[in-house]
C-alpha cells in the first residue's frame, strides 16, 4: 500500500533563505544596477520591481573542468545525412560565430552576465540604502495604498445584504410580462364571476357551460402562477463592488531645476533622487499626483521628463523665471482650492545678480501662501561642502531664500553634496505633517 502525502499546504518559499543569501552576495552589483535603473526611469514609476543584469563575477561557481577548446576529441552525433567516413568538414572561424551559438546569445545573456528580477520590496530596499532613511519612514513608503471598495455595476451573485431591489424587480417585472404571468386582478375578476354564477340556483345550460369554462380558465391561470415565480433567482441582482484606489485628494508636484551648463551629470543625478523621494512621500498620501517639470536657464519652460533630465541648454541663470512659470501654471491648471501644491527646486546656487531679491518677493507674496511645501536644495561639490558649512552664509540666492525660510514654516532648504544629505530635507515636512494628521 503506497503512502500518498499531500504536501500542497506545506509552506512554499522554502528557498527564500537561499534567495536572500544570493542577494546579499551580489548586493554591490545589484545596487549599481538599481541606481542605473533609477536614473533611467520616470519619477512616477521609480518604485516598480526591476529586472537587473549583473556581471557573473563574484557569483561564478568554478570547478576544475575541461576547456572547451584544445586537444583531440571525438564526439558522436545523431542524424547523419550525407557524411561518409573520411569526410572533412571545415571548422567555423575561431571566436564563435557561425551557427554555433544559436542559443544564449539571442537572449542577451551570455557567460558574463546574469539576469534576474527583483521584487518591488527588494528594489526599494536597495534604493533607500544610501539615503539613510529611518526604518519607520522606509516602511511607510513601502506600504501599499489600501483599496477602497467602489460600486462597479451589478452581479448575479453576492450576499443578501447587497441585493439591489430596483434592478431585481425590474427584471422580475419584465420576465413576468414576457411569460404572461396572470395578474392578481384578473384572477379576482374570474372568481367574482364564478361566485356570481354559482349563486344562481337554477343555472341555464349556457350559464352552466360558462361556469365550467370559467373554472377551467381559473385553474389554468392558477397553475401558471405557480409555475412562473414572482421573483425568480434569475432576476436577482446584487450591487457589485470593486476594490479601487480612492483618489481622495489630488496633489501636484512641481520640479524646478536649473539646467544651465553648470549643472552636470552628478548634480542632475542628485536632483533626480531628491525628486524621486519627494514623489514617493507624496504618493503615500495622495492617490493622484501630477508631476510638472519646469526647467530654467535665463528663461524657463515646462518640459517633459526626458528633456528635463537629459537635455542640456546653454544660457545664463535667472531663477525667478521658473517661479513665474510655476505661478502661471498654477493659475491656469491647478487652482489651490482643489489641489495640494508641492514644489521642489534644485539648483547649484548660482543666479543672475539682482534676481534673487525678485525670487524672494515672488515666493513670499505669491507662492508660499498657496504651497503646501516648498523644498529647495542647493547641490554642492564635495569641496564646496566643506567651505559652506555655515547655514547662514552663502551666495546671493541662498541668502535671500534664507529670509523665506525664516518667515515660512513650510519652506525647507538644504545644501547637499551626497545622497545621504537628501533625507534631512524631508524630515521637517514629516514632523509637521504627522502632527497635523
Amino acid at each position: 500500500m503506497p503512502h500518498f502525502i499531500d504536501r500542497r499546504l506545506n509552506p512554499k518559499d522554502k528557498s527564500l533563505g537561499n534567495r536572500q543569501r544570493f542577494l546579499k552576495r551580489v548586493r554591490s552589483q545589484v545596487k549599481e544596477a538599481v541606481d542605473k535603473a533609477i536614473q533611467g526611469r520616470n519619477i512616477a514609476d521609480a518604485d516598480k520591481g526591476e529586472t537587473v543584469t549583473i556581471p557573473t563575477k563574484g557569483i561564478a561557481q568554478p570547478t576544475f573542468r575541461h576547456s572547451t577548446s584544445g586537444g583531440y576529441r571525438e564526439r558522436v552525433l545523431p542524424g547523419n545525412k550525407e557524411f561518409q567516413a573520411g569526410d572533412k568538414i571545415e571548422k567555423p572561424p575561431a571566436g564563435g560565430g557561425g551557427d554555433g551559438g544559436k542559443e544564449g546569445s539571442d537572449q542577451g545573456e551570455d557567460e558574463d552576465t546574469f539576469v534576474f528580477a527583483l521584487s518591488r520590496e527588494e528594489f526599494l530596499d536597495l534604493f533607500f540604502e544610501d539615503l539613510e532613511l529611518p526604518d519607520l519612514i522606509k516602511n511607510n513608503l513601502k506600504e501599499v495604498i489600501s483599496n477602497k471598495y467602489r460600486r462597479a455595476g451589478y452581479s448575479m451573485a453576492g450576499s443578501p445584504s447587497n441585493i439591489n431591489v430596483i434592478q431585481t424587480m425590474q427584471r422580475s417585472l419584465g420576465r413576468r410580462l414576457a411569460l404572461r404571468r396572470p395578474k392578481e386582478e384578473g384572477i379576482q375578476e374570474l372568481q367574482h364571476e364564478i361566485f356570481a354564477l354559482e349563486k344562481i340556483s337554477e343555472p341555464t345550460i349556457e350559464q352552466w357551460a360558462r361556469l365550467k369554462e370559467l373554472h377551467e380558465t381559473l385553474e389554468e391561470l392558477q397553475r401558471k402562477r405557480r409555475v412562473i415565480a414572482y421573483i425568480d433567482p434569475l432576476d436577482v441582482r446584487y450591487n457589485y463592488f470593486q476594490p479601487k484606489p480612492e483618489p481622495n485628494t489630488n496633489a501636484v508636484m512641481f520640479c524646478l531645476m536649473d539646467t544651465s551648463a553648470s549643472m552636470g551629470e552628478r548634480e542632475k543625478d542628485l536632483a533626480k533622487r531628491f525628486f524621486v523621494l519627494l514623489h514617493l512621500f507624496l504618493k503615500r498620501r495622495y492617490d493622484r499626483i501630477d508631476v510638472i517639470f519646469i526647467r530654467h536657464t535665463h528663461e524657463s519652460s515646462e518640459v517633459d521628463e526626458e528633456t528635463f533630465f537629459y537635455a542640456t541648454e546653454s544660457g545664463g541663470t535667472v531663477v525667478s523665471t521658473a517661479l513665474v512659470e510655476m505661478q502661471e501654471i498654477v493659475e491656469k491648471r491647478y487652482p489651490p482650492s482643489e489641489w495640494n501644491i508641492y514644489a521642489a527646486q534644485a539648483s547649484d546656487g548660482e543666479n543672475f545678480s539682482g534676481d534673487s531679491a525678485k525670487c524672494n518677493d515672488l515666493l513670499q507674496s505669491v507662492l508660499m501662501p498657496i504651497c503646501q511645501y516648498f523644498a529647495y536644495i542647493e547641490i554642492l561639490d564635495e569641496r564646496e561642502a566643506d567651505i559652506f558649512n555655515d547655514e547662514t552664509q552663502g551666495a546671493e540666492l541662498w541668502r535671500s531664500y534664507r529670509q523665506v525660510y525664516d518667515e515660512w514654516q513650510n519652506f525647507a532648504m538644504k545644501r547637499i553634496s551626497s545622497p545621504a544629505d537628501i533625507y534631512p530635507v524631508f524630515r521637517e515636512l514629516f514632523a509637521k505633517k504627522d502632527e497635523r494628521v
Partner: protein, 506 residues
C-alpha cells in the same frame, strides 16, 4: 470473515469485467490509489521489479521550483548558489521557456517521489509508473547505487547536515560558513572516491595488526642483515626516500581532493573539516547518478511504457488518457538531429529507451545480424531477465559498449566526428555502416565515461613538516587542457582551505 468474503467476491467480479481506473482528466486520491495498485500489480508480478516501498507526495508548482533549486533534495542546507539556481529557474519558468518536470524522485528508502498537482490523472499514472517503479527499481538494484549510496540513511543525513550547517552559521557567522561552502562546492566534482577501497579497519583491528607486525619483526630479527655491505645504499637517496615514505604515509597520490584536505589541511578548524566532509558525502551520493543518466532514464521510460500499455490492454485506461500519455511519451523521446536548432546533445531518454526496447526485440525477434552481435541474448526467451541484469550490473559507458546494436546506430544515424585542435578540419571518423559500427560504439561509450568527463587531478605530494606546499598533478588526456579561468578561481579557493601554497602541474 463475512467482510473479507464480500471483498473477495467484489474483486473477482472486477476481474471478470474490468472497469476503467478513472475517467476524465482531474485526479483525486481515490483514483490515485486504485491506479497505483494496478500499476504495482504489473510492475511486481509481470515485470518482476524489486522496489523500495513508495511514498508519493503531491506538491504545487512553487514547491517544485523550490525542490529544483536545492538539487532535487527535500532537505538541504542553505547556500547562495541554490538561490542563484532558483532565480534562474524561476525566470525560465515565468517566461514560459521551460515547463517544470512532472516529478522528482529521490533515491531513498522509502523511495520518495514528488508529483505535481497540475498533472492530469493520465500524467499521474505515467509519472507513478515512471518514478515510483522505474527509477525506484533502478536505484535499488544498480550496483553503483548499491555500492555508493545509502538509501536508508540519506534523509536523516541531510537533516543532520542542514542542522549542523545552520548551527555553524549561528556560531561562526554566515560569512565564514559561506566561504567554506564556496570552496567546497568548487571541489565537489573532485570530492568523490572513484574506486572502491577496503573499508577502513576499526581501531581494534588496527591494533591487532600492529601487534602482529611487531611480533613478526621480533621473530625475524637478525643482526646479520646490518653487516651486509649494500644494505644502506648511501645518503644521496635520502630525500627521495623521505618523499617515498611521506607519500606512503599520506596515501598519495590521492584523487579525492576534498577528503585529503579535510584530513590533512593544516589550516582548518574542526567545524570546517566537518563541513567539507558533508559536502564530499553529498557529492559521493550523487556520483552514481552522473554515471547512469542514460540507463536510469531509459529504465524508467521503458518501465512506464510497458506498464501503461499493459494497463490499456487490460482495459483499465480510457482511450483519451492513453493518447495523452503517448503524446507526452513521444515528446520526451524526441531526438533532434545534430544540425537542428533544438539539438542539445543526445537525449538520454531517447537513447536509453531505444536501447532497452531493442534488447527486448533482440530477445524476441532476432535478425542474423543480432545473432552475430549478441549471441548470448539473441533469441533468449526471457527478455525480462536480460534487462534486469543490464539494469543491475552496468553503467552508461559499459551499457553502451555492451548493448548498442547496429539497429540503433542506424536508427539514430550516428556518426562520430573527430576534432583535433591542430587541424583545420573536423573529420568524420566513422558512420553507421558495417565498417564503422564498432568505432562509433566505442566513441559513444567513451563520451559517457566519467573518468574522461572530469579532468584527472590528484594530490601528488606535500611535505607537512617542510614548506607544506600542496602539489597537484593534472594528467592530460588527449591533450585537452583545463579551463584556465576556472582553474585560477578553484586554486584560489584551494589555497584558502589549505592555508599554504598550492601549485598544479600538468
Amino acid at each position: 470473515m463475512a467482510k473479507t468474503a464480500k471483498t473477495k467476491i467484489a474483486k473477482t467480479k472486477t476481474a471478470k469485467k474490468p472497469k476503467l481506473l478513472f475517467e476524465g482528466s482531474s485526479w483525486d486520491f481515490g483514483a490515485l490509489d486504485r491506479t497505483y495498485d494496478a500499476v504495482e500489480e504489473i510492475a511486481l508480478n509481470d515485470l518482476g521489479l524489486d522496489v523500495y516501498p513508495n511514498q508519493v507526495e503531491i506538491i504545487s508548482s512553487e514547491q517544485m521550483l523550490d525542490a529544483y533549486s536545492s538539487i532535487g533534495m527535500p532537505l538541504m542546507y542553505q547556500h547562495w548558489s541554490f538561490g542563484k539556481h532558483f532565480v534562474q529557474e524561476e525566470k525560465l519558468y515565468d517566461k514560459g521557456f521551460r515547463g517544470l518536470a512532472y516529478e522528482i524522485v529521490i533515491n531513498s528508502n522509502p523511495c520518495i517521489s514528488y508529483n505535481m498537482e497540475e498533472n492530469t490523472m493520465a500524467m499521474q499514472t505515467l509519472v507513478m509508473a515512471h518514478a515510483a517503479f522505474g527509477h525506484n527499481h533502478f536505484f535499488k538494484n544498480n550496483y553503483l547505487f548499491k555500492q555508493w549510496t545509502d538509501a536508508d540513511g540519506i534523509l536523516d543525513y541531510l537533516e543532520f547536515a542542514k542542522k549542523y550547517i545552520a548551527k555553524c552559521e549561528e556560531r561562526h557567522g554566515p560569512d565564514a560558513v559561506e566561504e567554506i561552502l564556496d570552496a567546497a562546492h568548487a571541489l565537489m566534482d573532485h570530492g568523490v572516491y572513484r574506486y572502491r577501497r577496503p573499508p577502513e579497519p576499526s581501531l581494534r583491528e588496527k591494533k591487532e595488526r600492529e601487534r602482529e607486525r611487531h611480533a613478526y619483526e621480533e621473530r625475524e630479527f637478525n643482526d646479520l642483515w646490518r653487516t651486509v655491505p649494500n644494505a644502506d645504499k648511501g645518503p644521496e637517496d635520502d630525500t627521495q626516500r623521505d618523499a617515498q615514505e611521506r607519500k606512503k604515509r599520506l596515501h598519495l597520490p590521492e584523487e579525492n581532493l576534498l577528503h585529503f584536505i579535510q584530513i590533512y589541511s593544516p589550516a582548518l578548524k574542526t567545524w570546517q573539516r566537518d563541513i567539507l566532509h558533508i559536502v564530499s558525502n553529498i557529492a559521493q551520493y550523487f556520483y552514481p547518478q552522473k554515471q547512469t543518466k542514460v540507463m536510469n532514464e531509459g529504465c524508467a521510460t521503458f518501465v512506464h511504457f510497458y506498464i501503461v500499455n499493459a494497463l490499456y490492454d487490460k482495459g483499465l485506461l480510457p482511450e483519451g488518457a492513453m493518447l495523452e500519455i503517448l503524446h507526452s511519451h513521444s515528446n520526451v523521446l524526441s531526438q533532434p538531429d545534430y544540425n537542428d536548432q533544438r539539438y542539445g546533445g543526445i537525449n538520454p531518454y531517447a537513447l536509453g529507451f531505444a536501447m532497452m526496447a531493442d534488447i527486448r526485440r533482440i530477445c524476441e525477434n532476432p535478425t542474423d545480424e543480432d545473432r552475430e552481435w549478441f549471441p548470448d541474448i539473441a533469441g533468449s526467451d526471457n527478455w525480462r531477465c536480460v534487462l534486469k541484469d543490464a539494469w543491475a550490473n552496468y553503467r552508461d559507458e559499459s551499457f553502451i559498449q555492451q548493448f548498442l546494436s547496429p539497429t540503433i546506430m542506424r536508427k539514430f544515424r550516428l556518426f562520430s566526428l573527430a576534432d583535433d585542435s591542430k587541424e583545420k578540419f573536423y573529420s568524420v571518423s566513422a558512420i553507421h555502416n558495417k565498417r564503422g559500427y564498432r568505432q562509433v560504439r566505442d566513441a559513444l561509450a567513451r563520451t559517457y565515461d566519467v573518468a574522461a568527463l572530469d579532468p584527472d587531478i590528484q594530490v601528488v605530494d606535500v611535505d607537512l613538516l617542510g614548506d607544506r606546499q600542496l602539489r597537484l598533478k593534472h594528467t592530460q588526456r588527449d591533450g585537452i587542457p583545463v579551463d584556465e579561468r576556472d582553474k585560477e578561481m578553484v586554486l584560489f579557493h584551494l589555497k584558502k582551505l589549505w592555508g599554504y601554497d598550492v601549485i598544479m602541474e600538468t
